[in-house]
């Protein structure tokens, strides 16, 4: 289910300039479709995570990039580990 930029901004209650910065920083990677970008539910949840980091956890803009990179690595590792566990269990 694709989400338009307008809907994304409304649901995250963020402004367009901030979104552009986040995309420029590659914190968010929307799908480039013509004529407009599209977002997924995962992008929405990721935007919420960035908001939590900045608003609730006191992480500054430089730190957000570091945290996201590590979070992405953790998920990469988790998914790889899940495959290893699944293949170890397979007969």
């Amino acid at each position: 289910m694709m989400i338009t930029t307008t809907e994304f901004l409304a649901r995250t209650r963020m402004d367009r300039a901030t979104l552009e910065i986040w995309i420029e920083e590659e914190w968010l990677i929307p799908i480039e479709t013509s004529p407009e970008r599209a977002f997924t539910e995962a992008d929405l949840a990721r935007a919420q995570l960035i908001r939590d980091l900045m608003d609730d956890l006191g992480v500054n803009a430089e730190g957000v990039g570091v945290v996201l990179n590590l979070v992405d690595q953790v998920h990469g590792l988790r998914n790889a580990l899940a495959e290893v566990v699944a293949s170890a269990r397979a007969p």
């Binding site: 990677i29 539910e41 995962a42 949840a45 609730d56 945290v67 979070v71 992405d72 953790v74 988790r78």
Partner: protein
């Protein structure tokens, strides 16, 4: 619902600032996206958030203190967390394998695992053979098919994945020494080193290049042909671009699983290689104005 003061670990008399600090400390520890495998942390985080919602709002806190409301109404239903999507196994543009890329390619990792399981039945497996191979910068960036000539005169053809890094080792299954028993041959392990390029420099997934431009191109602006690892592109140099100005060519860096880097073009303004009488004549009559001193920061 638990007592919100107890959940946050603050006194009933705590100042708003203490509540905020206590919440922040717990949230850093318990945020579900920072603990993707810990269900308990997620449950505790929910309590902590609810307690904070109640106590950080002076009106609600006062009503709670005077017994007008209890803690139960404060619970928010939170939308899903990012981890719920990242764990779905769907291809994600964010997923990052740099936490284990040095284990070898993902497929090799699992192949190795399968083989070890199967190998328990087998006694003898041929030895692994180690090789080193230097490849060109562009082959490392773009990927290529390579031939390795072996000491015994044979050869090995294999493909280099795009974005391979200095020192990375490729495992070629079954290309090692044969076994004397009835097991499989060993693997060939090829350690890759990358030769430097004449003008590209790689840092992580980004490519750096210093692009010489003429004085006229710098002053007047121009469209300049710029090499990238995948072929030249036209770069628009704006009017008045100086030496040191950097332009980013998005997506022209190293493409690897988990993302693609950029090419960063640094301009270098070049005077004509031969002395030029016309330019000299022009400059002797031209002045940039008294305010334009490039060394003004150096005046002590």
């Amino acid at each position: 619902m638990k007592d919100p003061y107890e959940v946050l670990g603050v006194a009933r008399t705590a100042a708003p600032d203490d509540i905020r600090k206590a919440y922040r400390r717990l949230a850093k520890k318990l945020h579900p996206d920072l603990n993707p495998g810990d269900k308990q942390a997620e449950a505790r985080f929910k309590d902590v958030t609810a307690a904070n919602d109640l106590l950080s709002d002076p009106g609600k806190r006062q009503k709670f203190d005077s017994g007008e409301i209890d803690a139960s109404g404060a619970e928010r239903t939170r939308q899903q967390y990012y981890k719920d999507f990242a764990a779905a196994g769907a291809a994600s543009p964010y997923e990052n394998s740099s936490g284990f890329a040095d284990f070898g390619d993902g497929e090799d990792l699992f192949a190795e695992l399968f083989r070890r399981q199967a190998g328990q039945k087998r006694r003898t497996r041929g030895a692994d053979l180690h090789y080193r191979l230097a490849i060109s910068f562009l082959d490392a960036v773009n990927g290529a098919t390579q031939r390795l000539t072996l000491p015994d005169g044979g050869s090995l053809d294999f493909s280099i994945p795009a974005g391979i890094q200095e020192g990375q080792t490729l495992r070629l299954r079954g290309k090692g020494a044969p076994t004397r028993g009835d097991g499989e041959p060993g693997d060939a392990l090829v350690e890759i080193s990358i030769n430097p390029h004449r003008f590209f420099v790689r840092e992580g997934d980004d490519i750096y290049i210093e692009l010489p431009i003429t004085l006229a191109e710098a002053v007047l602006g121009a469209r300049v042909k710029t090499p990238t690892p995948t072929g030249a592109v036209m770069l628009t140099v704006p009017k008045g671009s100086n030496t040191g100005a950097i332009f980013r060519l998005k997506g022209k860096g190293v493409a690897r699983r988990g993302g693609v880097g950029d090419e960063l073009v640094k301009l270098k303004v070049m005077l004509p290689s031969e002395p030029n009488a016309e330019l000299e004549a022009f400059l002797s009559t031209w002045s940039p104005g008294t305010n334009d001193d490039p060394r003004k920061d150096m005046v002590s």
